[in-house]
């Protein structure tokens, strides 16, 4: 092995295919989807029928995933390549439109906890669903009105009652929460136990007492559903407790919630890079074709400098994400690098999108020019999956000799 930044022919192929798809199919849908707060269903059905989409690739073949999905490819040493493939795919799709990507049928963020904690039977049952025709979604329910960044502070409760668990509480800001076939819900047997009290359940749509509350109206990502979920004496069968009771000897539930982030944070970073690249390229092409005071805007040194910096930051953010993904594929612990990738990419992408609006001037505020949408969409990348501040707590805890008490 040696240092290398070239894509394999296969990765290039995937990238080219997804880029073409993003350009000719996804991007043209983008503005309408944003306006109407939804993606056309026939389009999503077509997506669902496509083989080898990224999310399907995340499901191991033995549990009914797309066996030959791109994510399953391993290198000559038997090491996974799936995280690096995911980086490439996420960037291209987000370049097209990030809300479309978040509407991609599949287990979504619910996938990793099922994969990490689920028994073989559970994996088969919950992943098997996605092989059936139609639109199927999984979701991840951790955040509550009173606990977002502070995961250990969740108050949703669970208590055992015969062969069922009774869940009570409220979850908020759950992506695809309303339309999901199942949601991984984190709850606690006793808040005083802190992290050791956490349990993860797969709660299926239609379970009595499992209610979809209000759908949020947001600054950006408007075509992506963000739901409030209410659990009122919701009876969940014991076989839906991820990993079974014997799995929870210590902080396994909390660790399962956290482990999701090792692969999801670089992925979120890659999405931010995709949006940033879209905004950068849009501004770059704009200054080539538009004139100010008799010369192309590109000819102004200050504008050229801004674009040069944006191109550079875009590359740097991508490399931070690739680094974290490479570590995940190699099996090297990457919690710090995953947080750095996400924190860095979000910050860089914010600046790039802001610059793009600035460079377009008044045009940057027009709905049909796209950049105003990216400017709204990008903000949440420094908020969800751990805010920029939380990422810096994660990073500083790992660079300091002793854990700080902030």
């Amino acid at each position: 092995m040696s240092v290398d930044f070239e894509l394999t022919p296969q990765q290039s192929q995937v990238r080219q295919f997804l880029h073409q798809f993003a350009k000719s199919v996804v991007r043209p849908l983008s503005l309408q989807a944003d306006r109407e707060h939804k993606i056309p269903e026939d389009f999503l059905l077509r997506l669902a029928s496509m083989q080898g989409t990224m999310q399907a690739g995340e499901i191991p073949a033995e549990y009914g995933g797309e066996g030959e999905g791109v994510g399953e490819i391993k290198d000559k040493r038997g090491k996974s390549q799936s995280n690096r493939f995911a980086m490439i795919g996420a960037e291209e799709m987000a370049w097209g439109d990030v809300s479309v990507l978040m509407n991609l049928p599949g287990p979504g963020l619910g996938g990793p906890p099922v994969r990490f904690m689920g028994t073989p039977e559970q994996k088969k049952r919950f992943f098997g669903l996605f092989k059936q025709p139609g639109l199927h979604y999984g979701a991840y329910g951790l955040t509550e009105p009173g606990a977002g960044s502070d995961v250990s502070g969740i108050r949703s409760s669970c208590r055992k009652d015969g062969d069922h668990w009774i869940l009570n509480g409220r979850k908020c800001f759950i992506t695809n929460g309303g339309k999901a076939d199942w949601v991984v819900i984190f709850a606690t047997v006793d808040p005083s136990l802190g992290r050791a009290g956490h349990r993860a359940f797969v709660v299926e749509k239609g379970t009595p007492g499992f209610i979809c509350g209000k759908i949020e109206e947001k600054m950006g990502l408007r075509a992506s559903e963000t739901a409030e979920l209410v659990l009122e004496d919701c009876r969940v069968p014991t076989e839906n407790l991820l990993g079974g009771e014997e799995h929870y000897r210590g902080k396994e539930g909390f660790m399962g919630a956290m482990k999701t982030f090792d692969s999801s944070r670089p992925m979120v970073g890659a999405l931010a890079v995709g949006i940033a690249r879209a905004a950068y390229e849009y501004a770059r092409d704009f200054v080539k074709d538009n004139y100010c005071l008799g010369r192309p805007i590109a000819r102004y040194h200050q504008i050229a400098s801004m674009l040069a910096d944006d191109a550079r930051l875009c590359d740097a953010a991508r490399l931070m994400c690739w680094r974290a993904a490479w570590m995940a594929d190699e099996g090297i612990p990457n919690a710090k690098e995953a947080s750095m990738a996400k924190a860095y990419a979000a910050k860089a992408a914010m600046r790039i999108c802001t610059d793009a609006v600035q460079i377009l001037g008044a045009h940057g505020l027009e709905k049909h020019q796209f950049v105003e949408k990216w400017y709204r969409d990008i903000k949440v990348f420094d908020i969800f999956e751990g805010t920029g501040q939380i990422q810096r707590i994660v990073i500083s805890k790992r660079i300091l000799r002793e854990p700080p008490n902030f």
Binding site: A304, M320, W322, R323, I395, S396, I399, E402
Partner: protein, 401 residues
Amino acid sequence: MISFALTEDQKILQETVRKFAAEEIRPRMREFEKARAVPDALRKKLHELGLGLLDVPEAWGGQGLGALTAMLVHEELAFGDPGAAVALWAPHAAAAAILELGDDEQRKRLLARFGQAADRLGAVAYSEKWKVPEAGFATVAQTTGAGEAYLLTGAKSFVVNGGRADLTVVFAQVDPGAGWAGVGAFVIEQGAEGMRAGARHDLVGLETVHAAELVLESCRVPGRNRLRGGDDFLAAARRFFQRAALINAARQVGLARASYEFALQYTQDRQAFGKPVAHFQSIAFTLADMHMDVESSRWMLWKAAAEFDAASPSAPQSVAKAALHANEAAWRVADSGVQLLGGAGFIQDFPAEKWMRDTKALALLAPSDQMQQLVVAGAELGRAADFGPGVPTSDIQPIFT
């Protein structure tokens, strides 16, 4: 295949230079600074490791290890001390200039001098303080006889090792008025009649580095020492500057890492209000940002060096991006490094203040940021942004070479 894995050989080399920097350079950085020089013996010792022609192909007496491997070495040396990293690197930019601008005979003959006696100094005389207001150089090279020799006349500034180098590469105007099309590069050997050192520059940082003016008064250079840059002098000059920019970016990464690691230790040792100051969020988050700056600039650098080694068409742009990124990140890290130490950051008992001065000096030891932005913009925007020849010129800012 995307990979950040160094080879075993690269790791061994990195470890060797890291040890050298920790033992031989860091403890003596203030001593070198006061003396405004590194000891000759130490330069000799470093070059006994055989690093001088590390990235020069084996055919010309080098080790053929490529730019990426060289980045590891320069990061470690600068981690020891940025000034010493420049001053200890005997061939300086001259080897890169000869490699890129020379023909095979010149490469073999001239690079061998650095191979034989590894502590021989090289210099490149490029920028001019008082330049005529047109593209190219005020220093002229006048043909004598039927081109068997040139007479060089002019004054160069900001020349590292100026006036005391074994080989000095001088950029001069062969055809005045022809702009960049009329520029040539000439290798002058030490002791040549008509070449003398001018005043040594006093610098904001990197005091260890000997940078001086160079005066040429009808200095005779044999025709065989004119570097013609193959078929395309401009393209070769650009590649030379890419090499210089890569090495310099590696030094900025080493400097930033040094400043970050020092602040990381210091803020954990220093107690305030009953706990280490690093355990206050605003300090800890600053450390996290410094760490991200160090890492992102290293990966930008590695990618650019890998592309340069592969002669990829995107290499010029990636090198410019890496250089910009490293300059900006190192400045921010070095500034934070002083800030986090508080008063201790401002006094010379601690190294942080030195890194803050050194990083600004390093940023001018290769094409300036403004120039690199034009390289990136030129590549990204094409003809819509035609700002000029894309070669660093003193028209924009003089640079140290």
